[in-house]
Amino acid sequence: MKAQNYDRPNIDIAWCPGCGNFAILKILKQALAELAIPPQNLVITSGIGQAAKTPHYLQTHIFNGLHGRALPAATAIKAANPQLTVIAEGGDGDMYGEGGNHFMHTIRRNPDLTHLVHNNMVYGLTKGQASPTSQRGLVTPLQIDGVCQEPFNPLSVAIALNASFVARVFVGAFEQGVAVFKAAIQHHGYALVDILQPCVTFNKLNTYAWFEEHTYPLENSHDPGSREQAFARACEMERLPLGIFYRSQDRKVFEKQLSAYREDQRPLYQRPLESTKLQNLLDTNRSL
């Protein structure tokens, strides 16, 4: 399959020229194409924000729900029909701010889905307020004296929660991006990809140049099997490593543990109503 197979014709893309979101869209299409996932089998859920508009710009099933709520929808979609490939996509505000509680508890569940977070360290759509990942000191229309909170570190938190796949990429590194996206989608279980993305309009601090300077690829020697190593690398703040920090294959997957799929692999919509069982249940109740 080709990346072009995912193109939607005649669309008016709402992003600013030069925005890092374009690169993410490109990486995503390329990864999907290389994995040959048919659009009919792919659902992308998203919340609200500039990032969260992404699914509208490619050929796929879309559940573009509420700000912050892409993960619960994605988890449920996968649980209702495990045959679908499910991606939850959105911005740093969406996923780590409004949706922070779902971020933590989705990791605990470990459904087989891919979590793509466009991390531009700012609220784009609402015009430049700080996001949870904004760096200390960033001046915004709301944080007029600069951000004074500890930036949210999605990687360290995910590792602390024992997430089964934790990675970071930068939109400026296309090849690595495609490789990591593919690995994340293929990973069996929850996979976080935090994507460093410049917002050319509102984030004048974390620009392309800033990211180039403040990122570097994890060495080949990095062992993604070690949680402690992964945590230590995730805590690096001066220069941000890129790549797969942590990966574990032994965590049980949410939907696999559901009794609904113990004997029957069909998606829920294909199953008949269990009328005999219901009748039996009532009959049992009639006697002592």
Binding site: T60, F63, L66, P72, E263, P267, R271, L273
Partner: protein, 574 residues
């Protein structure tokens, strides 16, 4: 059992047990109602309990009757206090005729108390923890039910316990039984209960169970919820059925996750339910609006308890009506159903899934703690034609989720089912489901969504008239007050008064208009402080409610109380 009918003896007795949480009231209630039903009596039990795990003061009321009953009484015929607090709490309701049985050793002095040495008997049987079995035995003995049934019951009940425990409980129960029989012989309590063979085969179900069964009958296969009293019972019931029925059950991290999961599940083809209470539903308000926008089916069980905020978690109220009607921002159609009886709780829940699917909108089943925690015998639940009327289509390549149609309904596709792509969007969107800021389309899509509201009226559930149609006064009620009004009106025979019970609250059924017009005097009974339904009625039917009969102390109306309040308001017949 008394087989020779005597005159004027009550055919309906009301047993009340009171005590602290952890003292076994629930065990006794379960045992007694089961045994009484199995002996051919109609039973109805309802509970009052506090928000604590141990201690406090709880009670259960069990009505045993020759005919169907399903409303709480003020009257107590037989009172069994298990501790002093229960005695203090309930003695205002005792009358001269009330029989009070209790363990004198554990209770303060009370005139007329008949000693029932529960602890001693239990200890003699081997363990003071057998006291519940003694109590069950005593009541069963007093009512003259056969000992064998009791014995069978205990064997079954304790079947997964060690044999010493089974034996101990049987001995304890038998001793209690003897005590009860002895007491019966003294004639202290006189009644004339008729056992009916037909009743022995009835179902015996609680409100939470019938809602759960209704969900199963409606094809529900996905439940995501966050525990909150009194909505948790339905969740627990369904969790117990999960293995057997292949249900997906998820305890969400919060209510917001729960409703968004339910919407994701419907999108992917499941039939999902959320069960919660007022505070939890308030948190779901945004998600509820999402259902409206993406035109997703959804069934919400909203189990009311007294508010605002945390309020009285284990008590009852009908105070969340306005919230149910107006939850969510923006304008979109929805359906609000409020069952009046356990039978209806089943049928409406079942129906909710089909209507949600048919009209692609959220449906609320509005119940309350009283209804959910009550328990009664039911001859049957309607399982005919048990096929979910699933309305989704197989898509083709030019599929568009929000095709503009005359009815407002667009064929609903599922991802992975057909060649098309299924796109839903919380923004205003075009027919294909993609975000749009075309303002002509905006109006068209709003109109489309609202058109479903009128379509929905085709399936409107008419209110039910209680009594004869030559009334002057009409007493309107909704939801769980059905039975209490019915019984109170029954006690007012001869007066030109009837009741009208609504189980569809939104959109309001047009069929009510004629009844409301006919009324010279209109009263509304509801379990809240402001008369929320009365206001709704006035607006929707352009009528005037003369008086609102309200109760909001956390307890349901009782028959006597309602009868008396109605009596004082009734116009003299002309």
């Amino acid at each position: 059992m008394h087989s020779s009918p005597k005159k004027n003896l009550p055919e309906d007795i009301c047993i009340v047990l009171g005590g602290a949480a952890g003292q076994g009231i629930q065990t006794i209630e379960t045992g007694l109602t089961r045994l009484l039903k199995q002996s051919g009596y109609h039973v109805f039990a309802s509970k009052e309990y506090m928000s604590r795990i141990r201690g406090g003061s709880n009670s259960t009321q069990i009505r045993v009757s020759s005919g169907p009953v399903a409303a709480p009484l003020e009257r107590i015929d037989l009172f069994i206090p298990l501790d002093g607090a229960a005695l203090t709490h309930l003695c205002p309701r005792l009358q001269a005729a009330s029989l009070v049985l209790g363990d004198r050793a554990n209770l303060p002095a009370y005139p007329g108390l008949i000693d029932m040495p529960l602890t001693t008997i239990a200890q003699q049987a081997g363990d003071h923890r057998y006291a519940s079995s003694v109590t069950i035995g005593a009541v069963v003995g007093l009512l003259g039910i056969c000992l064998e049934l009791l014995d069978d019951y205990l064997q079954q009940r304790f079947s997964d316990h060690p044999s010493t425990i089974i034996a101990g409980n049987r001995v304890a129960a038998a001793a209690g039984y003897q005590y009860g029989q002895k007491l019966a012989k003294t004639g202290t309590m006189q009644f004339e209960l008729k056992a009916l063979a037909s009743v022995t085969g009835d179902l015996l179900l609680s409100g939470s169970e019938v809602i759960g069964l209704g969900a199963l009958a409606g094809g529900c296969n996905f439940i995501s919820s966050y525990p909150m009293s009194p909505g948790t019972g339905v969740l627990t019931f369904l969790a117990e059925q999960a293995d057997e029925f292949g249900l997906v059950v998820d305890q969400a991290e919060d209510e917001i996750a729960a409703i968004n999961m339910a919407l994701g599940a419907w999108y992917a083809g499941a039939r999902a339910l959320v069960s919660t209470s007022g505070g939890g539903f308030a948190l779901m308000s945004e998600g509820f609006s999402l259902a409206g926008m993406i035109e997703s089916p959804l069934v919400v069980h909203l189990a009311q308890r007294p508010g605002p905020a945390t309020g009285l978690p284990t008590h009852t109220e009908q105070g969340d009506l306005q919230l149910a009607l107006h939850a969510g921002h923006g304008e979109f159609p929805c359906l609000v159903l409020a069952p009046g009886s356990l039978q209806e709780a089943f049928s409406l829940t079942r129906r909710a899934f089909d209507l949600a699917d048919k009209y692609q909108l959220p449906v609320i089943i509005l119940t309350d703690q009283f209804l959910l925690d009550s328990l009664t015998n039911i001859p049957a639940l309607d399982l005919h034609n048990l096929q979910p009327h699933q309305q989704f289509v197989e898509t083709d390549t030019d599929y568009a989720r929000y095709r503009l149609t005359a009815s407002g309904l667009s064929p609903r596709g599922l991802p992975g089912h057909g060649a098309g792509l299924v796109c839903v969007d919380s923004d205003e969107h075009d027919e294909a489901g993609h975000i749009s800021e075309d303002l002509v389309l905006r109006t068209a899509m709003t109109d489309k969504r609202l058109r479903k509201q009128s379509e929905l009226l085709q399936d409107a559930i008419a209110p039910q008239l209680l009594g004869s149609d030559d009334f002057h006064t009409l007493v309107v009620c909704w939801g769980s007050t059905y039975h209490v009004l019915r019984e109170a009106l029954g006690a007012l025979k001869g007066l030109p008064v009837a009741g009208l019970h609504f189980s569809q609250l939104y959109p309001l059924p047009p069929q009510a208009t004629a009844w409301l017009r006919q009324a010279r005097q209109l009263l509304v009974v509801e379990g809240n402080a402001t008369g929320q339904f009365a206001s709704l009625l006035e607006q929707a039917y352009d009528c005037t409610v003369e008086h609102r009969i309200l109760k909001y102390n956390g307890l349901p109306f009782t028959v006597e109380e309602l009868k008396q309040r109605l009596q004082s308001l009734l116009d003299a017949p002309d």
